[in-house]
């Protein structure tokens, strides 16, 4: 049996330590060890984006990240993005634009979109930046519109 290792990271703003297997994936750490089941396992191979979380602010496929590599770093899952009643601006527009149907892809899409907004940049890039997040339901147009809208609202709210 492999020895267990200790991984300490900032998870949704809170410093947490986990005793876990050396071959743990970040996805399993988040879901099984931390009990945060927002990030989903779709393909387990980096292709679908259902497992996307933010690692130091950048979207990553957590099924491909060795949990030990995240030691000392900052991880944000959809649970850390917003709460019922206090949603992230992109979560708000996903709802108002009908960008959520079955919801399986939504936690990954929400964190990827949040990272897009945090970086700023050109709305023309939105579809490309979301292309790693597959959705079987919405047909994408409403998801991209929701991100465009959230970005426009953010720009309008920003002090001139």
């Amino acid at each position: 049996m492999a020895d267990r290792i200790t991984i300490t990271l900032t998870l949704n703003g809170e410093r947490r330590s986990f005793e876990t297997a050396p071959g743990r994936r970040l996805l399993d750490l988040v879901r099984d060890d931390a009990g945060l089941v927002g990030a989903k396992e779709g393909c387990g191979a980096g292709e679908c984006g259902a497992c996307t979380v933010l690692l130091d602010g950048a979207p990553v496929a957590s099924c491909l990240v060795l949990a030990a590599s995240a030691d000392g770093h900052e991880v944000v899952t959809v649970e850390g993005l917003g709460r019922a009643g206090a949603l992230h601006p992109f979560q708000e527009t996903l709802v108002t634009h009908g960008g959520v149907q079955c919801g399986f892809c939504t936690p990954g899409i929400a964190v990827t979109g949040a990272a897009v907004l945090a970086r700023g940049g050109d709305a023309a890039d939105h579809a490309r930046l979301l292309a790693g997040n597959l959705c079987r339901c919405t047909g994408y147009a409403k998801v991209v519109e929701a991100l465009d809208d959230a970005a426009a609202k953010e720009a309008a709210d920003a002090p001139a």
Partner: protein, 289 residues
Amino acid sequence: MDVPVQEVIRPATIAEALAALAEREDARPIAGGTDLMVQLRDGRRRAGRLVDLGRLGLAGIRRTRDAIEVGAATTMDAIAASAEIKRSFPALASAARQVGAWPIQCRATLGGNLANGSPAADTAPPLLIAEASVTIASAAGTRRLRVADLFLGPGRTALTPGELVTSVRLPLDEPAPGERVVERFTKVGPRREQVISVVSLAGRAVIRPDGTFALVRLAFGSVAPVPVRALTAERALAGRRPDAAARRDAARAVQDDIAPIDDVRAPARYRRIAAAVLLDRFLQEAARG
């Protein structure tokens, strides 16, 4: 599911990393994990010990007097966003922006793309036309190897166990006054994002004021067991203008540079045609500027 490894080491210095690799025969470096995690899970590669490269300070892009040095752990996202790379090596910036999709680009590293040894590695053709080299460190010392000599076959490289790629060096090559440079990377696949290239081409042309080539370099991915320079096609074009006759000769010559196979992603015949089409498009762009 956990990947089957017994231990993970997170060294803070290159010396510690090299010692951790030398200590166990079944030790293997891990950078972004975007290739290795799935390979470990599927049993296509094995490792008793993983040596994480994340703390070694190997990420970063810096310009020296006559080259740009890219740290092995630099991500595709950082390469694609770099003003320095976009200006001097636009094909590399473009290739980095076409590796997987954004969440892959935020983890995938240049060193991992090369060390994985895939004939489809998208950064390889741009590095071949830049005549780039890698710096390799091991417990025995360091050596420099041309990217052209790094790839040996599908999934096989000249790296020996215990060796680490620490950086990639791209020599700067400024055109003479009046010359213009056209450099492109294009890839063919079933969709734009998140696809392994069926054929890819990186081209660099330096064009004199009279319209003739001062230099033309071409390299392909996914059309041979390793990424390849198209030297026969380059010779067919040397000193000429990218007119219809030259383009026809190049399309014929390039067939000798490539040795594609049939696989799940495309038949060899398709790859031969697509390689000629990508080359022709590049030469037409070179003619237009």
